[in-house]
């Protein structure tokens, strides 16, 4: 059957401006998109650039968007994308820097960020010398994370990367999880501190787009939340976030519900005059409309004493 591939093009050796080339090729009914691309390159246009490596859905190199849906071209069947007509539009993943056409700059997008989380174990003594062994369940959990093949789809879904390319992103932070939760690792607080730096775990909006996009079921969003929970337990090193979390927890612990006014001022810091002053324009507008919660004028919910007990127990377990 004849299928027209409308392929995104960009060539830095020409004008580097995004464009599109249309190619109509005859492909077998059970072909993959990759079959079509290889045929185009062999028969029509040798300048078309795309990545092709394992050709069996394992290496994650050939991710693109076909008719708006992200997929691996080597496993995506042409017929799944041509039900409304014999046309397939191919675009790069949205958060990717492009080298040429559908070839991405994986260094900038992924590898530099993976390196930034220091993806190696800092081992202590071997288990035979008294070091900590890994249990079967711990290893199974880590193995799940290690099954990542760096296809970039979690970063493709990420809500933060489109507004801040320097955010480490779910793929690299999930790599961080692999070492934070390895009982053999001795980097401890230093490793958490590394992940807590600006552009790290606290910049994640936990929107679960990464989880929805991951083809391996690794659940990157939950991994980031687990690192955050661990940081909460051992002590958050990012000062601003620490103030925010401390205030949030304190008001729920003391009253059963959130004192939003208190949270706003305590997150800035009670001695941070500049930060507090920056809150004023919005606070005044809200006050005029009768909707700014006044800090500390906050009644206890019925049953607040029970909530306090839960907190005390949870905090004790954390120690």
């Amino acid at each position: 059957m004849d299928v027209t591939f409308k392929v995104y093009r960009k060539d830095p050796e020409k004008d580097n401006k995004p464009g599109r080339s249309n190619y109509t090729v005859d492909v077998a009914e059970d072909s993959t998109i990759m079959d079509g691309l290889l045929k185009i390159r062999d028969e029509q246009d040798g300048t078309l650039a795309f990545r092709a490596s394992c050709l069996r859905g394992y290496c994650g190199e050939c991710t693109v968007k076909a008719n708006g849906r992200s997929c691996f071209t080597c496993t995506a069947k042409v017929k799944a994308f041509t039900q409304k007509g014999p046309e397939i539009q191919l675009d790069p993943l949205r958060n990717m820097p492009i080298i040429k056409d559908l070839v991405y700059d994986w260094d900038a997008f992924l590898w530099n960020k993976i390196k930034a989380v220091q993806p190696w174990l800092e081992p202590g003594e071997p288990a035979s010398n008294g070091g900590k062994p890994v249990t079967e369940s711990e290893m199974q959990d880590l193995r799940k994370v290690m099954s990542c093949y760096y296809c970039g789809l979690c970063d493709e879904g990420c809500t933060v990367l489109p507004v801040d390319f320097d955010f480490l992103g779910p793929a690299a932070l999930t790599k961080g999880y692999r070492f934070v939760f390895d009982p053999r690792d001795t980097a401890g607080k230093d490793r958490l501190k590394l992940l807590e730096q600006s552009k790290g775990i606290w910049d994640c909006v936990h929107c679960f787009e990464a989880t929805e996009h991951c083809p391996r079921g690794i659940d990157p969003t939950k991994r980031i939340m687990d690192i955050r929970d661990k940081a909460f337990k051992v002590g958050i090193s990012n000062e601003r976030v620490a103030r925010h979390h401390k205030s949030f927890a304190a008001s729920v612990k003391e009253s059963g519900w959130l004192d939003e006014g208190r949270l706003a001022v305590e997150s800035e810091g009670l001695t941070n005059i500049k930060g507090l002053a920056a809150l004023l324009p919005t606070a005044i507008k809200a006050l005029i409309r009768g909707k700014a919660p006044i800090p500390y004028l906050h009644s206890k919910r019925p049953g607040a004493d029970r909530i306090k007990r839960i907190f005390e127990k949870g905090e004790k377990d954390n120690k």
Binding site: V160, F208, D219, D229, V252, E260, T282, I307, I310, N318
Partner: protein, 293 residues
Amino acid sequence: MKYAFYPGCVSRGGCPELYPAAVKVSGALGIELEELKDAACTGAGVLPQNISDPINARTFAKAENLGLPIMTICSTCQGVMLQANHRLKSDPEYRAKINKEYLAEEGLEYKGTVEVKHLLWVLFEDYGVERLKSLIKRPLTGLRVSPFYGCFLRRPPEVVVPTKAEAGRKTYLNDLIRILGAECVDFSGMGKCCGFPIITANEQNSLAMVGKHTGEAKDKGADCMVTPCPLCHLNLDGNQSKAEAQEGRDIGLPIIHLPQFLGMALGFDTKDLDLKRHLVSADAVESKVNMLT
């Protein structure tokens, strides 16, 4: 039709217009609410799971004792409770541990039978679209409305859409806008994050998201945006002027709570829905809607 009502902190704090609007609209629809007055904050994804799960288990146990499902009016409360409930329902050992260690001393036990639903889901899954249609007194004809779901009404997939029967949850808000007679203005960010969770950690990124979403909806011709999440409202409405300054453009897109939007179609006087409390003026929406009566 009765629910254990969990209004959440923000509907009485930063968005005090939401709570009364939800109560009024539920009354008009004939949905009876028994408020869980001694339930605590869900933890909102800020408190660690080992503290928030027992707190939420306690809330579920209280609803279970009333024999009622829980209704929320906040995507964040909904999502945090839904995820906690998923863990507690699917892992009886974990539930037993929490019952024993945290709830027993209050004489509570969560048996894992409670459902948690946002008002938006209640309308489609329990109340019924035809019944809702029969109560529309003021079809919102000509009003151009963009939907903004809030992350947790769409994800994570295994708890929001556990079976094909719940697949409609991805489009309920778009569907509701059309059912109430308004025109749905789709835009790419409708299911994305509003940026609120990082307003403290990275205000610049958070405001960039506000600017991106509200700006795109405005450019596509929306008169307003409707959201089932008061936390999204705090950012999209409360911080829109800051986002305008950061992004160097005017936006001025009114953000309306879901119950206010429903209330307009059910024939409420717009004054009774407290639209004047929003930081981005909703006067143009009010006049457009009042012209319809």
